[in-house]
Amino acid sequence: MTNNWTDIKNADVVWIMGGNAAEAHPCGFKWVTEAKAERGAKLMVVDPRFTRSAAVSDHYAPIRAGSDIAFLSGVINYLLTNDKIQREYVKNYTNISYIVKEGFGFNEGLFTGYDESKRTYDRSSWEYEIGPDGFAVRDETLAHPRCVYQLMKKHYAQYTPETVERVSGTPKDKFLKVCEMAASTATGDRSMTIMYALGWTQHSHGAQNIRSAAMIQLLLGNIGVPGGGINALRGHANVQGITDIGTLTASLPGYLAMPTDSEPTLESHLGKRTFKPLQANQTSYWQNYRKFYVSFLKSLYGEKATKENEFGYQWMPKLDVAYDVLRMFEVMHQGKTTGLLCQGFNPLMSVAYKAKTVAALSKLKFLVSMDPIETDTVRFWENHGEFNDVDPSKIQTEVFMLPVTSFVEEDGSFTNSSRNIQWKWKAADPYGESRRDIEILADLYLRLKKLYEKDGGKGAEPFLAVDWNYKDPTHPSSEEVLKELNGKALVDLKDAEGKVTRAAGSQLASFGEMRDDGSTDGVQWIYTGIYGPNGNMAQRRDNSDPSGMNVYGSWGFCWPANRRILYNRASADPQGKPWSDAKKYVYWNGERWTGADVPDFVPTIPPERGTGPFIMNPEGVSRLFARGFMADGPLPVHYEPFESPVTNPLFPKVRGNPVARVFKGDMEVFGSAKDFPIVGTTYRLVEHFHYWTKSVHMNAVAQPEFFVEISEQLAKEKGIRPGQMVRVWSNRGQVKGKAVVTKRLVPLKIDGKTVHQVGLPLNFGFIGETKKASPVNSLTPAVGDANAQTPEFKAFLVDIEPIPGPVA
Amino acid sequence: MRHSEVAPGDSVHPGDPVVVDRYTTGARINHWITAASLVLLALSGLALFHPSLFFLSGLFGGGSTTRMIHPWIGVILFFSFLGLFLRFWKLNLWERTDNVWMGRLRDVLTAHDENLPEVGKYNAGQKMVFWSMSLLILVLITSGIVIWDQYFSEYFSIEQKRIAVLIHAITAIVAICVWIVHVYAAIWVRGTISAMTRGRVTGGWAWRHHRRWLKELVTGRP
C-alpha cells in the first residue's frame, strides 16, 4: 500500500476492483465503512461477482474476469478526453511532459522491439529522449507528438465506453458511473483510494492491471495524498514482511537484487542500479543502493566481509534465471530437483495445475514440510479417491513433516499491508513437539556447518563464511533478528567535522546512517529505525492521532522511516502548499517540510529547487510511461487471458500477453473456447484463511463444503438446481461441488457473444475438517504474469454439468 | 327389538343380599390403569399449566422429568382407554330413554330415581362421560403429539404447535371437569365403587339404578 489502512478513512471515493476487501480483508475493511459513515465517502466495486464488498457499496459494475485493463484504459480515456485530470499535479509530478525517443512505437498490439521466438522485448526504444545536458527532454506545453501526453491520448483513444462494454461486458452506464465517481476526485480537495488484491495480480498481465490503476491515480492527483493511493491488500498476516525480506529468488531483503551471472563483480552489480538523476536537482534515492547493499553483505558475512573481498560478494550465489514458483515446479517436473523444503507452503493447493504439481513432487527424492498443520501437500502421495487420485506405490518421494509453532506460540513481528510492523507477543505455549521455524533452521544450519567443517565439499566456503552471531546459536530470538534487520554502527560513525554521531556497536536510527565502506551493517535497510537506539519500535501501542488525519505515528513502526503515506510530498503543490485544507498533510512551512506524517522528502530542500516528490525515481516524477521497467510494455495494453472465450477484440493478432511466462508443456494444455465456453475464476472466502482453516473446526462450521457459484441463467441453461452437485472441468482436471445459484453473477455480452462466468472458491482440499474436495487448482492454467510471474488463477476456461449426487 | 344390556361376565347371584357381577377382573384392571394415568396426567399437566401448581412437578421428580413423563403417560392412557372403549362402546350407545333421563336431570340430582325411566347397564350421564372422554382423549393425544417436541418437533410448524397447545390445554380442562363428575357420581351414588373394586354391586343398587340391566340378567331377556 502506498497509503495506510487507517488513511482509507480520509477517502472521499473508495474504489475496490481486483479484490474483495470485505471478503478477504474484513478487519481492514472497517476503514472503508468508517470513511462511508464518517465522511460520506462513496464506495464503488467492480468485480465479476456481486461480492460482499459490493453488498455495502454505492455502486457496483460487473466485469468479465481478465478484462481489467480494457476497463481501466477506458477510465483513462475518459479522464483524458473529458480533461478530468488534476493538471498541475500531473504536469509537475508525472512524466506526462517527457518526450520519448524516436523509434518507439506501438502497432497492432505490440510495442517496438518484440522478438517472437524468445517471447521477449528489446526495450531499448522505450526510453526518453536525452538532451545535451544529459537530462531527459520535456515539453511543458504537452504538444510534442512524442511527449507522453500525446502518446497516451493516441494509445487510449480506442478504449471508448462502447469498447469497454464490448470487451469487458460492463454496461456502458455502469462503466460511466465509475468514471464519473473517479473523476470527482481530480480536484485536489477530494481523493480516491483504490484497493486491490489478487484479483489484479493473478493474471498473465497482472502487473499492468496495477499500473493502469496507478496511472489513473496519478492523472487524478491521488498519489501521495491522504485518502488516496494505490493500495495492495496483502493476503496473509505477514506476507508484506515476507516480500520485504526478499524470499523471492531474484530479490534480497529490502528490494535489493540478487546478483546474476552477468554481474561478476560487486561494482558491476551496483553500477547498474545506482541511478543518476535524469533531471536537475533530483534526489534519485537509489543512488544510495550501494550503502544498503554493502551493509547487507556486512550483516551476512560479518568480519569476513572486507573491502578487499568485495564484502563477500563472491560468496553470493549468482542467478542464471529467476526461479519463480512456475519455473521451480517446471524444473522439478523435469526431474531436476532433488529435494523441496516447504516452509508454511502448501504448493499442492497453491501452485497452478495440480496434476503437474503432483507429478513434479513425485519426482523428488525428499520433501520436507515445516508447518503448524498437516497440509495437503504432505499427503500428495496418498490416494484420496477422486479428490487426489494417485497410486502411492508409484511414488518414491520421502516426506518429512516438521511441526512448527503457530504464530501465537512465539514472539515476533507482523508487517501488514500498509507496511506497519507490529510486534506480537507469545500467547500460548508451543503444542506438542513443535519448534519455532527459526530453531529448526538454526539447527539445520549448525548441523550442515558441522558436516561442511568435517567433510568440506561443494559450496563449503560460502556456507562457512556466514556470520552466525546469536546469544544462543541454536535459538536465535526474534528480537535479535529484528535488531539484525535494523543494523548497527560497526565503528564510531563521524560527521564531516569528526564528531561521533553514532558510537560503534549502537543500533542505527535510520537508513540515512548506512555507509558503503563497511562501517555499518543491517540486513534490511527499509526497516532501519525499527530497532534503533530507542529499542523495539514495533512494540509501540500508542493510538493517538495528533493531527486528526488518522495518522497513528506512534503505533508500531511503518517502513520506511515510520512513514505512513509514501510520496507524501505530493500532497502539497509545487510551491509546498497543501492542495486544499481538506487534504493538508505534508507541506513546506517556510523552513522545512512538516505535517501529519514523516515527509517522504529531504526535509530541508525548499520547493524552489524543483525537486520532485517521487524521490526514488531519477526523474523525480512518477511514470505514466514506464520506460523499460516493465517487461510487457511502457503502457498497459488489453490482452486476453491465455484461456479466453473470445479472441482479442482489440488486437486480433495478439491474444494473450506476448511476454507472459509460459512453459512448453503448459502451453499445450490450454483449453479452447470451443470445448470450454465458460470463464472460471477463483477466490477465497471470508470464512477461511487460504488452506489453513479448513483444518479448524469453527471455520469449517462456518463454511463446510466446496461450492461453485453460478448465475441463475447458467443454472437454467444447464438444468442445475440449487444445492445440486456439479462437475466443473478444464483441460487440466476437474472438481466437483455444490451449486450455489445466485443473482450475484450474471452472464455478460462479450463481443456479441453471451459469456457465463463461474466462481470457484479456493479454500477446500482433501485434508482437514471441511468436506473433502479436489483443490480448484486442478483446473487452473500454469501461465504467469510477464513481470511478477504470478499464475493466472483469476481467468481461465471451464465447462460445467450437473451430476447425480445428494441434492441438499 | 331392544338390544341386550348385558356384557360378558355380568351375572346375578341370588342371596341376601343379591349380588350382581358388574365388571370382570380384566375390565377393572383396565379401568384402574386408565384412572391412574388420568390422575397422573392431570397432576403433571396442571404442573405445566399454571405456575401456582408447578410444585406438583415435584411428584414426578422435577420439571424436566414431568415434561418427559407426561406424554408417555398420555400414550398409556390412550391405549388403556382404547381398551375400555372397545369393551363398553356398545352398551354406551344412545337410546331414546336416555333423552328422557336427561330431561329429568332435576330428579337425578335430587335422587328421585323412582321418577326416572328404567336404566340399562349405563344411564345417560355415564354415557355422556364415556363419549366425552372418548372424544377428549382423542383430541388430547392428537394435540399432544403435535407439541411432543422431543420426537415430533420437526413435523409441525410453530403456529400449528401454538394452536395445538391451546387446544390441549382447553381439552384437558374439560377432561378434568368430566372426570370430577365421574368420580363425584361414583362417590355420591353409594354402592357404586364396589363395582370397580370388587367387580360386584348389590342387587338393591342394581335395582335402584340399573333396573333394566338387572331384569335382563335375571330373565335373560332384553
Binding site: 474484513p26 | 343379591v18 399449566f49 424436566s64 338393591g204
Partner: protein
C-alpha cells in the same frame, strides 16, 4: 466510529447486575427492585454488515459451543438455521430493488431480539427458567429449564432451540456474563466494521439516527430503525435500508407481537381453566352437603331379591 468499549482489567470484577435486578421471572411473581438499571441494547446495522460471520464464530467461541460441520445446500448460510449451539446466524437475501433496479445483498444477523415484552418468558411454565433483567436482557437459566419448548411457541421471532442432547432451551444471552462486567457481547467485539455496536438503548437509538441519515443521503429513503412496538421494543435493534419492508430481510417479522393464541393460552385459558375445575369440584361438594348421599334402600334390596327369586 462508535467509541469502543475498553478492554477489561485482569482483576476480578463484581457483576453489575444479578438476581436483585430482575423485572420478570418466568412462572413467578416477583417485586422488581425500585432502582432500575439503564437499558442496554445491541444495534445491528445491516447496511454496514459484510456477512463475514465473525460474530457467529465469536459466539461459538465465547459461549464454548460446538456446532457440527454441516454441508453446503446451495447457500452461504451455515449452519442452515439457528440451533441449540448456533445462537446467532447470518442470513443472506438477494433482493432486486424494484425502484433502483439494483441488486442488493441483504445480510442480517439473526438471533434473540431481547424483547421488552418477551413471549418466551410469558409462555415458560418453569419458575425462573427465563428471566428479564431491568437492563432489558432476557436470559435463559439452564438449571431451571425443563425443556418443554413453550418458549419456542411464545417467541414471535422463532429464536429458541431445544437441544436434543440435554433437552434444554438455548438462545443468545446478549452475553449477559460479559455485560455484567462492563463488556459488550462477543459478537459486537468481533465485528470488524462496527455493524454491531453496543451501549445503552438511548445511545443506540441516537447512533441509529446518524446511520439512518447517512443511508437516506445515499438514496434509501425508507431507511429506519427496527425496534418493534408490538413487543414493546427490543434490546437488539436493526438499522434497515428498507425499514418499511422488514420481511425482505430473510423473513424478519413486519410487526411482531406475541401470538394471540399464546396470549389466550397463557391468559384467559389459564384462569378460566382453573376456575372451571374449581367450580366442578365445588359443585360436587355442595351437592353432597345439600342433598346427602344417594343410598340404596332396604326396599331396593328387597325388590332385587324378589326379582332374583322370581327367576329361580
Amino acid at each position: 466510529m462508535f467509541p469502543p468499549i475498553p478492554n477489561p482489567t485482569t482483576q476480578a470484577t463484581p457483576a453489575k447486575f444479578g438476581e436483585a435486578d430482575l423485572i420478570r421471572r418466568s412462572a413467578s411473581n416477583i417485586t422488581p427492585a425500585a432502582k432500575r438499571q439503564t437499558e442496554v441494547a445491541k444495534l445491528i446495522d445491516v447496511s454496514k454488515c459484510i456477512g463475514c460471520k465473525a460474530c457467529q464464530v465469536a459466539c461459538l467461541e465465547w459461549n464454548d459451543l460446538r456446532e457440527e460441520v454441516g454441508v453446503n445446500v446451495g447457500l452461504y448460510e451455515n449452519p442452515h438455521d439457528l440451533t441449540p449451539n448456533t445462537w446467532t446466524l447470518m442470513r443472506y437475501t438477494e433482493y432486486e430493488n424494484p425502484e433502483s433496479g439494483n441488486l442488493e445483498w441483504l445480510i442480517r444477523k439473526d438471533g434473540c431480539m431481547h424483547c421488552a415484552d418477551p413471549g418466551c418468558l410469558k409462555a415458560c411454565p418453569a419458575p425462573g427458567a427465563i428471566v428479564q433483567y431491568s437492563n432489558g436482557i432476557v436470559d435463559f437459566v439452564k438449571a431451571n429449564c425443563i425443556g418443554c419448548g413453550y418458549c419456542v411457541k411464545g417467541c414471535p421471532f422463532n429464536i429458541p432451540r431445544i437441544s436434543k442432547v440435554d433437552h434444554k432451551a438455548y438462545k443468545c444471552t446478549l452475553c449477559s456474563d460479559r455485560v455484567a462486567v462492563g463488556q459488550g457481547p462477543a459478537c459486537q467485539k468481533a465485528c470488524p466494521t462496527q455493524a454491531i455496536v453496543f451501549g445503552t438503548k438511548d445511545e443506540m437509538k441516537k447512533w441509529a439516527d446518524k446511520r439512518i441519515a447517512d443511508l437516506k443521503s445515499r438514496g434509501f429513503k425508507n431507511a429506519g430503525l427496527y425496534d418493534p412496538p408490538g413487543v414493546s421494543g427490543t434490546h437488539v435493534m436493526y438499522v434497515l435500508q428498507h425499514a418499511d419492508k422488514p420481511q425482505i430481510y430473510a423473513g424478519l417479522a413486519n410487526n411482531p407481537t406475541i401470538s394471540p393464541i399464546v396470549e389466550l393460552w397463557k391468559g384467559l385459558t389459564k384462569y378460566a381453566g382453573l376456575t372451571a375445575i374449581g367450580a366442578f369440584a365445588a359443585f360436587g361438594l355442595l351437592h353432597h352437603i345439600v342433598s346427602g348421599p344417594n343410598r340404596v334402600s332396604d326396599e331396593d334390596e328387597k325388590n332385587a331379591k324378589r326379582l332374583a327369586q322370581g327367576r329361580s
